[in-house]
Symmetry: C2
Amino acid sequence: MVRTLEHPDPADLTLQQVLEALVDPVRRRIVTQLSEAADGMSCGTFDAAVSRSTLTHHFNVLREAGLIRQTYAGTTKLNVLRTEDLESRFPGLLPALLAAGA
Amino acid sequence: MVRTLEHPDPADLTLQQVLEALVDPVRRRIVTQLSEAADGMSCGTFDAAVSRSTLTHHFNVLREAGLIRQTYAGTTKLNVLRTEDLESRFPGLLPALLAAGA
């Protein structure tokens, strides 16, 4: 059985939820790192000075806000930024945030 | 004596403070209304379902984050969006947020 995680449709993304996700500097750092990793990153490879469980919480917030897509890969999760979905829903927002040093 | 209010220099604006200001929907609504008012708006003319003192707080947060410039105009304050300062510091961010329905 393939386990999957819930992801909101692009049309259901809200600016409120995206901003609530990105107001946290650790989550912005995750997004920045993902933006530089074309093939995504597994949860264990992030450079963040927080505990594993805190990191899991941050990934959940990012996934529920529609910023990242998470898929199971063996015993870990692979994370990719939903760049195209975000661009279609909020044109220019993610590039501007990344340029601002998100 | 002319009373003035403190405003951060464009170089001192931080993405953290801008996002903390804009994560609040009332403050985003103020920014949207200001973006449509070329000559600025006085505090009393805002369409927001909050008390006067709450509105004053929101304006202070927006000013301290560098999003608006406030000047005294008689017994009220005139508010203008710092569009050019924001564009120079965070290119594309404000237009993307406004397009997203900020």
